[in-house]
């Protein structure tokens, strides 16, 4: 056994209101630059829909993540030799049009236009060419099911799910996505240059901007399409899990700014030697095997072994208070996004409850048997098609509501849960009331001696020329042809 610590996140989809504050604060922090205008390290999708980039979940098309060859795990796009043979043209690389053609507006015209009979307008112009354009696809083009009658049926998660795209009968949920900082990252495995790596101490996956040679296999290798190609610098960039913030004990920008307080950050301990086996588990066991990888930090033997393996005591203490461990392992209400991609993502999701389908007068609480969001759809999203772990999570969420309704109104409650009332109440407190310090248990990294901090003042991580931080230049306005 080789114990490692990992910073992980849980997002409670039951509470996401789709406001995009996470996306906007992230963009202002990290991708407000030339070459990554199109890139959203954090984005929020309305499901059902094709998402960003279009149909990213369809690995028969994009060939991201891992696949089983017999019992052996191999990159779905092919192994090392296959990579080198396609190095002159990566057949699985999306183009900018699969995300969207980034544009800005001619704001100068509003101030500089000569007097005329008509109001001057700010026309949209492509950032790539400077030419006037008519945007036909963009970020959140499907927001709140906009155009869902067209794009909704193309959602890859709809396999085997009957869905009506009529106003009164349809459903929606929001899916915020960041890099999953996987335990078995396909992007790292796909990088021929060895520029992508997992940090030993906290598991954050980063791209070494100095070592990246722009071969682009991380972009195609990641099944979540979360590494982005900076078309201006010719290098790959990705979500940094805001490491300059978490090293100081602060939550990531997306988590800090979340209006609905849906995000939880914490440390989990796991067995690094067990990763390959868990990643190669049979389809039906994926969720259980990935969950079984996490070790119980309250177990003194685990704690002793972790300390021996070099995990600092403060981190083990943080792991004991980890909201991620409680939600994902102890109460099993959080699930990994597309575990069938076999990368072992470290951002897990609490599935959303939804109103009852059809007319159910007098019913106050949701019933997992007749929810508006089909169980099969959530299962395709969060459990490789297996409805049982999703149903279990939803039943516990309903049990929390039943209990709290009984405690608040005094009404008798008919159904019981497999969790005792005190645990349900604890779960309720974490989901509904938890303060900043309970939602974000991020131990500081104490890197004060790791580098010459004097020379690093004002830097932020992506701090090459034109990058983020004190040395970064302002993004250039779109050029005129």
């Amino acid at each position: 056994m080789r114990i490692k610590a990992q910073l992980a996140m849980v997002m409670n989809l039951d509470k996401c209101i789709g406001c995009h504050t996470c996306s906007v604060t992230c963009k202002h922090a990290w991708t407000n630059r030339r070459g990554v205008e199109y890139a959203w390290f954090n984005n929020v999708e309305t499901k059902p829909g094709v998402g960003y980039p279009k149909r990213w979940e369809d690995q028969e098309h994009w060939r991201g993540g891992w696949a089983l060859r017999g019992s052996r795990l191999e990159l779905k796009a092919g192994g090392r030799l296959a990579k080198l043979l396609t190095i002159f043209h990566n057949p699985n690389l999306p183009t900018v049009d699969d995300y969207y053609d980034p544009w800005s507006y001619d704001y100068e015209t509003l101030a500089a236009a000569p007097p005329s009979r008509h109001q001057p307008t700010a026309r949209p112009r492509s950032v790539l060419t400077g030419d006037a354009m008519q945007p036909a696809w963009g970020p959140n083009w499907e927001d709140d099911l906009a155009g869902a009658t067209v794009t909704g049926p193309q959602d890859p998660d709809l396999v085997g799910v009957e869905v009506a795209f009529e106003y009164e009968r349809t459903f929606q949920l929001y899916l915020p996505r960041i890099c999953n900082h996987c335990l078995n990252p396909a992007c790292v495995a796909s990088c021929p240059s060895g520029a992508m790596y997992k940090r030993e101490e906290d598991g954050i996956v980063l791209t070494d901007q100095q070592a990246c040679r722009g071969w682009r296999f991380c972009v195609s290798g990641c099944p979540y399409k979360k590494p982005y190609f900076n078309w201006s610098s010719g290098k790959a960039e990705k979500c940094l899990f805001c490491y300059p913030r978490v090293e100081a004990g602060q939550p990531t920008v997306c988590a800090e700014s979340c209006v609905g307080r849906i995000r939880y950050l914490g440390v989990v301990l796991y067995d690094a030697d067990g990763v390959p086996d868990a990643a190669a588990a049979p389809v039906g066991e994926l969720v259980a095997r990935q969950r079984a990888l996490f070790l119980d930090p309250a177990d003194p033997r685990i704690a002793a072994q972790a300390e021996e393996a070099g995990v600092p005591p403060a981190w083990i203490a943080a792991a004991r208070r980890s909201p991620v461990y409680r939600l994902a392992v102890r109460w099993e209400v959080a699930l990994p996004l597309h575990p069938e991609f076999r990368t072992l993502p470290m951002v897990w999701y609490v599935p959303p409850l939804s109103p009852l389908a059809g007319d159910s007068p007098g019913t106050v609480l949701p019933d997992t048997a007749a929810m508006r969001i089909p169980l099969a759809y959530l299962a395709n999203l969060l459990a490789a098609g297996d409805p049982s772990p999703v149903r279990r999570a939803l039943e516990r969420l309903v049990a929390v509501r039943r209990l709290m309704r009984r405690l608040t109104t005094g009404e008798p409650s008919e159904a019981s849960s497999d969790l005792p009332p005190d645990e349900l109440e604890e779960l309720y407190r974490l989901l509904a009331l938890a303060k900043h310090s309970e939602r974000f248990v991020v131990p500081p990294a104490h890197k004060e001696t790791a580098a010459d901090l004097f020379t690093l003042r004002g830097t932020a991580g992506l701090d090459s020329e034109g990058g983020v931080g004190g040395w970064g230049a302002a993004p250039s306005p779109p050029r005129r042809p």
């Binding site: 990159l75 183009t95 495995a189 997992k198 100095q210 078309w231």
Partner: protein
Amino acid sequence: MSLTGQFLWVILPYLALSIFVLGHLYRYGFSQYTWTARSSEFLEKRQLRWASQLFHYGIIFVFLGHVLGLLVPAAWTGALGVSERLYQEQALLLGGVAGLLAVVGIVWFNWRRWSVARLRRNSSLGDYLAIALLLLVIALGIYNTLLYPLSHHGPYNYRATIAPWLRGFLTGRPDAALMVHVPATFQLHLLAAFLLFALWPFTRLVHLWSLPLAYLRRRYILYRGLPPEAR
């Protein structure tokens, strides 16, 4: 020996070689962030698919052909039983095919870069120069291989002049006299190549040195730890 000959076939090639070596060392040492293939596949993929593969596979075989034709002395291939006629025929056939692949690829590259607005507006001078010079060098090479023999009653025997000059140049004993009477189109092919090599370290062409062969033997998942003093 004329001063011009000395300049063109001794001073100029060594100057180009010096810039080539020192330029690479400088850029590798001081500007890792700019060391990339600067791929444009993300902006235009449909044409690149064909142009890039034609060019790259073509140029690899063209390079191997140059090694065989210039660095291996004629006497060695002769000792192996390869007659001059057989050598010339295979050079024409294999070299011609590889050269044609490369020339189609590089013409397509140039056309693509100028015709696709997304590329035209986002290309550096180095991007344009690299593919323009490659086109010039390859076009002259194709002329020398395929067209020169037609108008001059057979191929030019560069293995008696250019090849020994190159071997002398690379081993520090350059003999400009070997090059003075070489046909003009062959001379131009070399002079254009000198310019290409001198510009090489300052363009995207540096990605040649980053061919990731180490990937074939690497483990998939990489970890990086903190420096020892920070643990």
